[in-house]
């Protein structure tokens, strides 16, 4: 009977090994993931006793800070009623954390701060978090919010050379200070228009004609087309077997691509898209960042991927452009199943502006420890090389024409060349509901700013009349 006894012992040893493995899993392997779980309030509770670092704008303005209460705990305050509410996020016991507050939680609490913090603890000093410096520009943000004037929509602006995000406006917004009370939190969660949603990174909209910049980049960079190549711009061209109409049913005859972009002629770009083909379109979309959650320093659940969303068996799912459900002609002009986040469209403008190189968008620049030393530096990173520098230059010329003499003249700045592209996505044809868009960068010769603007719904509005003026005002503020 001894052999089976020893075998039973062996089986139990395996079970104990399993226990040891799972303990290791939670304490070591999955540790960070568990600690960053939004349901995990342990650290927040412990953090009531930690002076969390401040979050600062590029100008040094305080966007978030911790205030010491009489009982020795700290509470979070957001000056200016949360100018950058969705980007900065919040850090409270009840709703937990969001935005930069969550993404940089380790730095802000000093948890990931290493040796110096350990030394502080040993000296009996309290744990203190690192300050988070960002590139955010409060003045331009205020302009963006004023311009949106309460209309649901988004404005996002960044420096195409570095990817540093300067404006991240999402309307409707909210005052994060009210999240101190649990009741206000549930009210906000259920509020109409979803004010907690960061529309710049998690709002998915049909990008309309702004997407023609992507199609143009693929057409020119693949060598299949030149800005002077001509395409039949007549109304009612068959795309995927269904006639496609131009705005106002206008026919243009044989027309070159520069003019077709300036006048935003649907039939031309749909045909270009078909000629470029699904494979090439898919490749260029990927290089621009489509198909992956928009790569910015915010928590994963606040970022969505742009691309073609097909519905199969009742579920909407992201597909690559080569999928059989995609109508590539209509995708090429920004309709059909294509959805994009405003930040993704700003990245499109940014890639053209930066001579074909797309930089990874970043909100934070660095963190600074309580003794004034830089604890962490967010260096600029290339996301991809989207197109050749020559292609980007050609596209810049074409987009400059859009603002000089085409659909985007409302974005023109005095003394500064702006390159841009309008978009007017159809949301409800019967009621004439449209979603105006504008993407741009300036100055065209030496781009310092790339921007995307959208308003969720207008009655009969256009990208050129409704979105372009907002972009103009924000760019003016940033380039002043």
């Amino acid at each position: 009977m001894n052999k089976p006894i020893i075998r039973v012992f062996a089986v139990l040893l395996v079970l104990f090994g399993l226990l040891a493995y799972f303990t290791t899993r939670w304490t070591v392997i999955d540790r960070a993931q568990l600690q960053d779980n939004p349901q995990n309030k342990r650290e927040l509770l412990a953090q009531q006793r930690i002076a969390r670092g401040s979050i600062l704008a590029a100008s040094g303005n305080v966007l978030a800070q911790s205030v010491r209460r009489s009982d020795g705990t700290y509470a979070r305050r957001y000056p200016d009623n949360g100018l950058f509410a969705q980007a900065v996020g919040y850090s409270y016991l009840n709703p937990g954390t969001a935005g930069l507050e969550r993404f940089y939680n380790g730095q802000l609490t000093g948890r990931t701060a290493g040796f110096e913090q350990t030394l502080r603890k040993l000296q009996g000093k309290r744990q203190q978090g690192n300050d988070l410096h960002t590139a955010l520009d409060p003045q331009a943000q205020q302009v963006a919010l004023d311009q949106l004037a309460g209309r649901p929509g988004a404005v996002v602006a960044l420096d195409p050379r570095t990817g540093k995000v300067k404006v991240m406006a999402s309307v409707p917004s909210y005052d994060p200070n009210v999240l101190r009370s649990a009741k206000a939190t549930s009210t906000l969660n259920a509020a109409p228009g979803a004010p907690l949603l960061n529309r710049t990174t998690a709002g998915l909209y049909p990008p309309g004609s702004t997407f023609k910049v992507v199609t143009a980049a693929a057409a020119l960079d693949s060598g299949l087309f030149q800005p002077t190549s001509t395409v039949n711009g007549n109304n009612g061209v068959l795309i995927s077997g269904v006639p496609l109409n131009n705005d106002g049913g206008q026919s243009y005859g044989q027309i070159d691509l520069t003019t077709a972009l300036t006048q935003s002629i649907n039939t031309v770009w749909a045909q270009v898209g078909e000629r470029v083909g699904k494979t090439r379109m898919s490749l260029y979309m990927q290089r621009f960042g489509f198909g992956s959650p928009v790569p910015v320093d915010l928590p994963a659940d606040e970022r969505l991927a742009s691309g073609d969303y097909c519905t199969s068996s009742g579920r909407r799912r992201l597909v690559v452009a080569t999928d059989s459900c995609v109508d590539i002609g209509r995708t090429a002009m920004g309709q059909d199943k294509l959805l994009a986040t405003p930040l993704q469209m700003a990245m499109v403008a940014s890639a053209v502006a930066n001579h074909g190189i797309l930089m990874r968008p970043q909100i934070a620049t660095r963190t600074v420890d309580p003794d004034g030393r830089t604890a962490f530096e967010n260096t600029s990173q290339q996301y991809s090389r989207v197109m050749s520098s020559a292609t980007a230059d050609k596209l810049t010329v074409m987009m400059t024409k859009v603002v000089q003499e085409g659909t985007g003249t409302a974005a023109a700045l005095t003394g500064i060349d702006v390159a841009g592209k309008t978009g007017t996505a159809e949301r409800d044809v019967a009621n004439n509901i449209t979603q105006p868009w504008f993407i741009a960068f300036a100055p065209a010769a030496d781009p310092q700013i790339a921007i995307a603007v959208t308003i969720e719904q207008t009655v009969g509005g256009f990208g050129g009349t409704d979105a372009a003026p907002i972009a103009k005002a924000v760019m003016e503020s940033l380039l002043r």
């Binding site: 009977m1 001894n2 052999k3 089976p4 006894i5 020893i6 075998r7 039973v8 012992f9 139990l12 040893l13 079970l15 104990f16 399993l18 226990l19 040891a20 799972f22 303990t23 290791t24 899993r25 939670w26 304490t27 070591v28 999955d30 540790r31 568990l34 600690q35 779980n37 349901q39 995990n40 309030k41 342990r42 650290e43 509770l45 412990a46």
Partner: protein, 431 residues
């Protein structure tokens, strides 16, 4: 050195541990490091010495490591519970005394434990009765959907803790008689015992299933049934029995997981601990999620003794920290290292238990030692596995460590039985 002197020496680390542990808690609470911790240590040491003296007189040849291992486990438990709640620790210390009395009584009254064989059906019936007691209206109590306790005046009592001992005694005795019969008949090249021989064993399987339905506790039923299969395998040396047994158990568990609401809740909480709906739901996944969060905070080295965040004001962050989640508290404060060391101590206990089973001369003793040891090991697996999300979390105690009177007393009886078997085996081996 004689076995008893080794045992005496082995008690030293346990007493040092408890003095250091209480000292650490006092320091953390920033109270004065009085002689109170030394007093606690002294009392604990005194109790262990008493147990040692009983063994020295009545069981001079018994295994010398079992008592020190138990003392270390008990001191870890006492210190952690003390750190959670002083009043609970005092209760626990009193239960520790009661447990030692039960330990002494078992050793003194059962000179020859083999008399138990004579009363096996009585013991089996009594155990069954004990198991179903919590479902009797009036005295039965429900906790988290499971029926495990009964209330007797001010004392809550968990009869399943004692029923498990009774059922193992019955099985050891029954299997000793029938083991030859179970393997004697072969059909189609496999061992296929007659129904009248396998019948009572099928009854045990039915019992485990019944526990799932009536007691509604997956953990206890896994523990019972696992112990039973281990004994069946040792008795017959046929792999077919545990294989078929686990298959049947899996089938039953799967069936009830899909039909009995409480079991289904536990299973879905286990599968999706962070699902917001389950997390908010009463009796949902909050406890397991918090357990994992607490362990994550522990890391490799732990946050330090007395550092664990247990509750804020009146609302608990770690529900049932002193019973179900005590392992999570230990990992939070002493880290992965602390958890592994605790598991290793249990491995030592289990190793001693199986050594006793191997040394024992007669089948009944072998089966009894195997059964008792396996049940203790599986109980550790069920609760630590529940806390670490290996299996769905159910409310059994961590032997000798968790807060809980019935558990402490029952486990001391198990220890006494193992020492009784060991004493006889080693004495016979020496001859």
């Amino acid at each position: 050195m004689s076995a008893r002197n080794r045992e005496l020496l082995g008690l030293l680390p346990a007493s040092l541990l408890i003095v250091a542990g209480f000292g650490a808690v006092f320091l953390q609470e920033q109270a004065k490091l009085g002689n109170l911790s030394l007093t606690y240590g002294a009392i604990f040491l005194g109790l262990c010495l008493a147990a040692h003296l009983i063994i020295r007189v009545r069981l001079p040849d018994a295994d010398p490591y079992l008592l020190p291992i138990i003392a270390v486990l008990a001191s870890i438990g006492l210190v952690v519970i003390y750190r959670l709640n002083e009043t609970l620790a005092r209760d626990q210390a009193q239960w520790f005394v009661v447990g030692l009395i039960a330990f002494a009584a078992t050793i003194l009254l059962l000179r020859d434990y083999r008399v138990l064989e004579r009363y096996r059906y009585l013991i089996a019936a009594a155990s069954l009765f004990l198991l179903l007691l919590p479902r009797i209206p009036g005295i039965g109590q429900q906790a988290n959907g499971a029926y495990l306790g009964i209330g007797l005046g001010p004392v809550t009592f968990q009869p399943a803790e004692f029923a498990k001992i009774g059922i193992i005694i019955f099985l050891a005795s029954y299997l000793r008689d029938t083991r030859a019969l179970l393997v004697s008949r072969k059909r189609f090249g496999i061992t296929l015992p007659r129904l009248k021989h396998i019948g009572p064993l099928l009854l045990v399987w039915g019992l485990a299933m019944l526990m799932l339905v009536f007691i509604r506790d997956l953990g206890s039923s896994l523990m019972f049934f696992g112990g039973f299969l281990a004994m069946l395998y040792v008795a017959t040396d046929r792999l077919i029995f545990p294989v078929v047994g686990f298959g049947l158990f899996g089938l039953g568990a799967w069936f009830f997981a899909n039909t009995v609401g409480h079991v289904a809740d536990r299973v879905s909480a286990w599968q999706h601990p962070f699902d917001p709906k389950l997390y908010e739901q009463i009796g949902g996944s909050y406890q397991i999620a918090q357990s994992l969060f607490a362990q994550a905070d522990g890391g490799v080295w732990g946050q330090g003794f007395g550092q664990a965040l247990i509750s804020v004001g009146d609302s608990p962050i770690l529900p049932a920290a002193q019973t179900d989640l005590i392992y999570a508290v230990i990992v939070n404060e002493l880290g992965l290292i602390g958890g592994i060391v605790l598991l290793l101590i249990y491995v030592l206990f289990v190793e001693r238990g199986f050594r006793i089973a191997v040394l024992a001369r007669d089948s009944f003793s072998k089966l009894l030692a195997t059964g008792l040891t396996t049940v203790v090991a599986l109980q550790v697996f069920v609760i630590v596995g529940g806390v670490t999300k290996v299996i769905p979390l159910t409310g059994v105690t961590l032997p000798f460590v968790s807060y809980g009177g019935s558990s402490i007393v029952a486990n001391f009886v198990i220890a006494a039985l193992l020492l009784l078997i060991s004493d006889r085996a080693r004495r016979e081996a020496r001859r």
